[in-house]
Amino acid sequence: MIEARELTKDYGEKRAVDCLSFTVEPGIVTGFLGPNGSGKSTTMRLILGLDAPTRGDVTVNGKHYRDHPAPLHEVGALLEARSVHTGRSAVNHLLALAQTHGIPRRRVGELIDLVGLHEVARKRAGQFSLGMGQRLGIATALLGDPQTVMLDEPVNGLDPEGIHWIRNLLKGLAAEGRTVFVSSHLMSEMALTADHLIVIGRGRLIADTSVDDFVALASQKVVLVRSPEVARLRHLLAGPDVTFEAGERGALEVHGLTAEQVGDVAAESGIAIHELTPQQASLEEAFMNMTRDEVEFGHLEQPVEVAV
């Protein structure tokens, strides 16, 4: 469980996190979503006590991170910036961190095996590829068998197999009742992994919602209708909040009404309907709609990357 209350962080004149309040619940995967530079990494550093908040407060499992006598058993974190000495092997890196908590040496081997680094475990971390470095970071996060797992952009640099692996891992961890908090700037990634979303832009909370509600909230009501009497239907549907667009092959796109509303009107007037399809906005569209005003630099096409 992570609880942030009015969390605020200024770096000089620049406000990186702005009065952010949210709760990350155990047992589900919570996605932490926002464009690049929106304050996700700063928030995570504040949670870990690496940076001190300008105002506000954040606790993990009921205490400030710093007040936990065995923090690696409470929270396992992967930060976006690499946090490994490049001259040290993966084994020694993990061993040094394990020793601070008296975690036995065999645990290091278990984690190396779990993340699939056994072949390079004794190589210097500076020679690792981005993906291997990411796996080492994930091993570091899981070293203490923590109640709360917090990963900043974990899929960065992973190959498709690795991405698939991390998704399953996160879902498994949540199913065991752990708190799983994962940041990403890729909506499509969150759609496949997360149950709940915390969306921020320019350091401010934009949405704190389930993935399903998020789409409904952000997407407009759009219904595609196909009917032999399309002109009469259009006349009957007209209203102040309703607009129309011509769809493909004579179809009509109705904006501002649900499929139910359109179907009822047609039935009352005895109009035959050949197709009635609610047009779901994709998560990526929903995300872009929501953060349109909150993107740090220039136009939206630039900062929001869309995964394929």
């Binding site: 936990h68 923090p71 946090s83 092997s89 020694n92 040094a96 975690i103 291997m132 690795g162 399953n168």
Partner: protein, 276 residues
């Protein structure tokens, strides 16, 4: 990249212990021994400490016949035996800076302070591990330098001095103490500056740039103030002769220790207060 298990499952950990200073000490020891720069710097420090006395003893023996009586009288066997200390201190100081700044440059510090959010145990452990190792290596290095240079000089029956003579044993151990304190000073500087280049140049400025600049001052000023410089105060630990305007070995050693305490205290305050 090797194949990974299809359904990853995190194995459970039965033992759950807390962070303690002793555990952090062990952790820092693992860090210390597991990077190459440690071994190279220490090896270099030890080799310089041994090689310079041998070199100077050989040169002095070979050139003795060509020296004027005054020059011969100005040669001191202990200066020769401890010639390496002045050079070795640079290698040891660079290592002292690196012990902490390499964590900042690589980002390791974030992992370290996530594991030990109180932070200070990390600093204490680094100083302890590092000081013990450099002292334990420097004592035999200094002794080897002493006996080797004496053996070379003995073949020409020159500049013989016994370790049992007053001040000799103190100077030899003092050389090792000096290098160790210099290393701690450098580590503190590194923790304050947080960058390798900045740490090394700050250290070099204090120990190698300011002292010669003092010679530009009027002699009376230099003699009044120069003895309080960390390098000059610390040098008294391994100097056999003491002039009227220099500190005693005890006072000089304590002053250098005081500088170390001040630098480390500042480092500790900043370490706790600054964002990582």
């Amino acid at each position: 990249m090797s194949a990974v298990t299809p359904i990853p499952r995190l194995p459970h950990l039965e033992t759950r212990r807390q962070v303690s200073q002793l555990r952090v000490l062990r952790s820092e020891w693992t860090k210390f021994r597991s990077v190459r720069s440690t071994a190279w710097s220490l090896l270099l420090g030890v080799l310089l400490t041994i090689a310079f006395p041998i070199l100077f003893a050989a040169v002095t023996s070979a050139r003795w016949g060509h020296m004027s009586p005054q020059e011969q009288a100005s040669r001191s066997p202990l200066d020769i035996a401890l010639a390496g200390v002045n050079v070795a201190q640079l290698a040891i100081a660079v290592l002292g800076v690196l012990v902490i700044t390499a964590e900042y440059s690589t980002g390791m510090i974030r992992a370290s302070f996530t594991a030990v959010p109180e932070r200070l145990p990390v600093l204490w452990a680094k100083i302890a591990d590092y000081a013990v190792v450099s002292f334990v290596l420097m004592v035999p290095a200094v002794l080897i330098g002493f006996f080797a240079s004496q053996a070379i000089l003995a073949r020409h029956d020159l500049l013989q001095i016994s370790i049992s003579q007053p001040g000799v044993a103190r100077s030899l151990v003092g050389g090792a103490v000096y290098v160790t304190l210099v290393g701690i000073f450098a580590l503190g500087i590194g923790a304050i500056v947080r960058s390798t280049a900045g740490g090394i140049s700050t250290f070099a400025g204090i120990f190698f740039v300011i002292p010669p600049l003092m010679n530009i001052l009027p002699t009376s000023w230099n003699e009044a103030a120069g003895k309080y410089l960390p390098s000059e105060a610390g040098r008294q630990l391994f100097a056999l002769q003491h002039a009227a305007h220099t500190l005693t070995p005890t006072a000089g050693g304590l002053l250098l220790l005081g500088y170390c305490v001040a630098v480390v205290a500042l480092a500790a305050v900043l370490l706790v207060r600054r964002d990582v």
